[in-house]
Amino acid sequence: MMNDCKILSQNARIAVLAARDLQDEKSCFVGIGIPSDAACLAKLSHAPNLSLIYESGVIGTLPHSPAMSTGSPSIAHNSDMITDSFTVFGELQAGRIDIGLLSAAQVDTFGNLNSTVIGPYENPKIRMVGSGGAHDIACLVPELIILMPHDSRRFVNDVDFITSPGANKEFNETRLKNKLGSGPVSLITDRARFYMSKDGWKLDAPLAGYSYDEATEDLPWDVGKGINNSITISDDLFNAIRYLPYLESKN
């Protein structure tokens, strides 16, 4: 019996799809919201030794209630370690955190992310929150996974401001030369998984239950035909969702 992901909330679909990319015994720099949810699901299923690292300095936690900030009580509660932000970003810069998960307001085909402004920087239509640690993670982490709800306004040809740099040819050259992290490797939506090619995002496969057309609806990029037919979610992973009840009820 195949697990029916269509019964899940949009956030839950992104989280289960992303969780698949998080292997056991890796360490993972996570932000609040779906990134944290995805990491928790992985840890509760196939990756019990996944180490969750929050930029607030909290390590080794498994929040069972939703947190609004990486410094929130439910993140700190029951953690294995609370250090400072300096330390965890230092570990990131030293290449000692394997995976990062990010979301943003806009993404382009090379995985450039915008969380700074809609419109021009000096005279913005909407001034957003700014980078936070997103730029830092995008520059430093060996493997970056981008999470986005399937919302066509978020998928653009050119982001208004590159808060968190992606995998443009020029950026990749600097990444290599100056020993930065290697940038985005996958884009997870609530309908599909994409991987980064030298020409930008290409479709891996739709989430089981979604068609090719749904997976690529309104995307402004040529994402190809896909290399797999569909992605099914393991029982372990699917069942783990019940341990994050707030994830099911969201949206």
Partner: protein, 306 residues
Amino acid sequence: MNDNFEISKKTKIATLESAIADNINSGSVIFLGGFGHAIPFYSSHEIIRQNIKDLTICRSGADILFDQMIASGIVSKVIFGYIGNPGVGLSHSFRKAVKNHKILLEEWTNYSLILRLHAGRMGLPFIPSKILQIGDMPDNIKYMKTIKCPYTDINMSAIPALVPDVAVIHAQQADEFGNIQMWGVDGDTIEGALASNKIIVSVERIVDNSEIKKFPDRTVIPAHRVSAVVELPWGAYPSYVTDFYSRDDKHYIEYDKISRDPDLLNGYIDKWIRNIESIEEYKKLIGMKKLKELQNGICGLKSNDE
């Protein structure tokens, strides 16, 4: 031994009014502590009440305290990595101030802002880093220079030091001499405090020096670096303090709606800030029921007197 040894030791305990008035001036660069945890709401509100203007406020990740200070018209510049309402959305007063060109921005990332404070804390004019070399952030930070590593020849960002005039932070406890103990989430609070020339601290409770000495590992700022200590239980509300009270997430969510509307926001600032004359009034406003709830929802780290 000097017969007056103990009594001649200097106390750092001050009233909130004088702690702020004596250490913060118009034009001061102020680091505000608290990364989700232990945000110095009540002591920062006193800066608003004293209407000290033309301030530069800074930290890596800032929440609605920054929004309130910007809305109060006392902030001319922000040095920051993030300003928002975490888990809820934008900082609307910040958004409007930017749209109307009412505020100067010096925009960094969380890590680069922490590195700026780290360099300040270490007495270095700059510290190198791999970040801020690609993307639009480097274009935006106009005065940041780059350097070549003399060993590897790779280019690096030369992150300039930031030495705030004053740090305002909140912590669990201090003794009268100013030894500050904080535990739970720190984020960049200690980094920012140690980088600053002066440090003002509000605490949940003043304890005897003998309590401090039980857990010297928990002391995060030594007495000789502290300018003033103020006992302000609940001073971090609506954020939280590990082992004392939990975060009022609802307050943050409601603030989103309030801060979208100028009239509602003015009313909020009057009610929660301008018209408040003591921490007792602040507690009354929170209400006994909520105080109890938040005390019961504490984060669960063990206190050192349990």
